[in-house]
């Protein structure tokens, strides 16, 4: 057994232990695994199945159902553009085109340098000051094409 497999086992075990005895423990466990690794590796599925006494299909089904759970790592920064109506009313359709062009990727893709992953999101609850963008855990209001570029420039300048 190589070292990465050992550490994955440890991460799965600690996530299972953290939420032991809870109702519907799978969701919090998956969140914990993803918080630690940035995604839920396919190798963790049989481990989770064994620990939680669930079938692999059940776990795979849950991972696949929810938009948040990823099966491969995201880029360093997760950029989510709100596509919902309140943001549309303030120009999010144009912002979406601009963002894809600026980053050179489509929704669901990661830039080649691994810095940014772009995703759609349906409402961040910031609808009075649209359009809204979430980058990691920070939400940004009234984002224009110019202020979007500034946000990305600032992150690119960070090392």
């Amino acid at each position: 057994m190589n070292s990465s497999a050992v550490s994955l086992r440890e991460i799965v075990d600690s996530a299972v232990a953290e939420h032991h005895g809870k109702i519907g423990t799978l969701m919090p466990v998956l969140h914990s695994v993803q918080e630690k690794l940035g995604f839920v590796p396919s190798e963790s599925v049989p481990m989770l199945a064994q620990s939680l006494n669930l079938s692999r299909a059940e776990i795979q089904g849950v991972i696949g159902f929810y938009h948040d759970f990823r099966t491969s790592p995201a880029g360093e920064h997760l950029v989510q553009l709100c596509r919902a109506e309140a943001c549309q009313a303030m120009g999010s359709r144009d912002l979406e085109l601009h963002a894809k062009q600026r980053l050179g990727i489509d929704f669901g893709e990661t830039t080649e340098d691994g810095r940014f992953t772009l995703e759609p999101v349906y409402c961040l609850g910031n609808c009075a000051c649209a359009p809204s963008v979430r980058i990691n855990d920070g939400i940004h209001a009234r984002v224009s094409t110019g202020s979007f570029d500034q946000l990305i420039d600032d992150l690119e300048a960070q090392e």
């Binding site: 809870k22 109702i23 519907g24 423990t25 799978l26 969701m27 919090p28 998956l30 969140h31 059940e58 089904g61 849950v62 159902f65 929810y66 938009h67 948040d68 759970f69 709100c82 919902a84 109506e85 309140a86 943001c87 549309q88 009313a89 303030m90 359709r93 999101v121 349906y122 409402c123 961040l124 609850g125 910031n126 609808c127 009075a128 000051c129 649209a130 809204s132 979430r134 855990d137 920070g138 939400i139 940004h140 209001a141 009234r142």
Partner: protein
């Protein structure tokens, strides 16, 4: 002299507009000038067009400045801030701002006045008065109080809360649950988020009272993952309430127990539907369940479960503290309490408005909203979230209550009002409604899962003028099938924005 209190809101919208940087800059500016201040990160008042709304406590009330950008902070200090200041952003006493002063804050009574995580602030402004009273009442007496208040579910379906609670109370079981539906996924809505971020103890108190009312000792808040600020506030609020013995095995020495757990969703809009939410809480895919059985009889893990929206549970503390009559006397007919709406989208003065029932949509959008942010004419208004109707100008004089909107083929839902100016392409909005349904359908029933995909295709053909008459008929037929044949409101109501757009704005579809 004690330190001057300066308030900078901490809610997600204020932060999205730079409140954290403004707060840091105010602290640094005061320090540099040798002014002693106490910086409080209060909740937002929901006047988002004025955020970040900075306030200073003075002998004659709180003086407001807003919207304060980071670049404005040095100028504020130069004009005398935080002492008496004559600055262009000065708004005078915060309770004199007409947009706020003209509202009737019942549920959002404390929002903005308090530090959301201060139990002292909460109890000083009437918090936990309702629970203290409930601890001395029988379960039936609490349920009766809620029934008499006329409170109806604020999530969108407007089902009488007291009746739901009675069903749970009357269903015998060794374990019952209280579940708060905080999966506020409708675009154009943020009232739940604002309440949870600005006054979280109000929700916690309401859920505890619900537990006493139906005999449930465990509760869950199911919060959407798109609300990271809210998550941090709720985690801390639950910890503090537990520490102060407002939650736990022996609430305030009463011998009564209620424990509360926060659960985070994973980006599925459908989990705002109560049965899908329950499956998700059980750790499964969020699939819709057939009803009956009602969750009140067979809910979480098959046990009797109260599933209520944040605002419904938030209203409970007021009802118990002030009495059913106090709450019922606000409002008319079947719409009791206050009207909570959210002005969003292309609107000049967006935010949360809580007023007596009776205002028209036009009064809201033109009065409070001040028209569009773009300065162009309003063309369409979507009321009630992504599944609500698009209303043309001929319908803007509708009174905002549950019945009047239903009568014109719309719905009030969770009170989201999204304003669009005259650049909107209504065929694209109709197409998006179908597209959204396709992305977010749980997949259990065919009309929703397949109908939404076909809906996008048919709208594209209509717009491209392919076999126009035939495809219009197909779209109508498809909408009818989704409306009548879907298991839940997702597929059942998606036709509402589609049909209203087509009916009122046919030119956009190439007619």
């Amino acid at each position: 002299m004690s330190a001057l209190k300066v308030f900078v809101p901490r809610d997600a919208t204020a932060c999205a507009l730079g409140a954290d940087a403004v707060a840091d800059s105010i602290l640094a500016g005061a320090k540099g000038r040798g002014i002693e201040i106490e910086l409080v990160r209060n909740g937002s008042r929901g006047a988002f067009w004025l955020e970040p709304l900075v306030e200073v406590e003075t002998e004659s009330g709180r003086m407001a400045f807003g919207p304060v950008a980071l670049a404005d902070v040095p100028g504020l200090f130069e004009s005398g801030f935080p002492g008496p200041a004559d600055h262009a952003l000065g708004l005078g006493p915060v309770d004199g701002i007409d947009w706020l002063a003209s509202q009737q804050r019942l549920t959002f009574y404390r929002s903005g006045w308090t530090d959301p995580l201060s139990l002292d602030d909460y109890t000083r402004m009437g918090g936990y008065k309702g629970l203290k009273r409930a601890l001395d009442l029988s379960s039936q007496a609490i349920v009766d109080e809620v029934k008499e208040s006329g409170l109806r579910g604020r999530g969108g379906a407007a089902f009488p809360t007291g009746i739901k609670w009675q069903t749970v109370l009357d269903t015998p079981a060794e374990q019952k649950y209280i579940v708060c539906n905080a999966d506020e996924g409708d675009s154009g809505t943020f009232a739940d988020r604002l309440l949870m971020e600005s006054d979280p103890f109000q929700l916690i108190e309401g859920m505890t009272i619900a537990g006493l009312a139906v005999g449930a000792t465990e509760g869950f808040i199911y919060l959407r993952s798109e609300y990271p600020h809210c998550r941090r506030v709720l985690e801390e609020a639950i910890a503090r309430a537990s520490q102060a013995n407002w939650l736990g095995e022996d609430i305030q020495g009463s011998g009564k127990a209620f424990k509360l757990e926060l659960r985070i969703g994973a980006g599925a809009y459908i989990c705002g539907e109560e049965t899908s939410l329950l499956d998700s809480l059980e750790g499964k895919r969020g699939l819709i369940r057939f009803k009956p059985p009602l969750p009140a009889i067979e809910g979480l893990l098959g046990k009797p479960t109260v599933v209520n929206n944040v605002l419904s549970l938030g209203a409970i503390s007021t009802i118990l503290a002030e009495g059913a009559g106090y709450y019922r006397d606000f409002g008319t007919g079947r719409s009791r309490g206050t009207l909570t709406v959210q002005l969003a989208g292309n609107v000049r003065r967006g935010g949360l408005v809580e007023i007596p029932f009776g205002a028209t949509l036009r009064e809201l959008v033109e009065g409070y909203g001040g028209g569009t942010a773009s300065g162009r004419p309003v063309r369409a208004i979507q009321v009630g979230g992504p599944l609500g109707a698009y209303l043309p100008e001929s319908q803007w004089d509708v009174t905002l209550n549950y019945g009047a909107l239903t009568d014109i083929g719309g719905m009030l839902g969770h009170g989201g009002i999204v304003v669009f100016d005259d650049t909107v392409d209504m065929a694209q909005q109709a197409r998006f409604a179908m597209e959204f349904c396709a992305v977010e359908s749980c997949g259990k029933c065919t009309p929703c899962r397949v109908g939404s995909v076909r809906g996008v295709e048919v709208i594209d053909r209509i717009v491209a003028n392919q076999d126009r008459e035939f495809n219009l008929k197909v779209l109508d037929d498809l909408c009818e099938t989704m409306d009548k044949g879907s298991l839940c409101a997702m597929g059942g109501l998606t036709p509402m924005p589609v049909r209203s757009a087509l009916k009122h704005f046919p030119a956009d579809f190439g007619a």
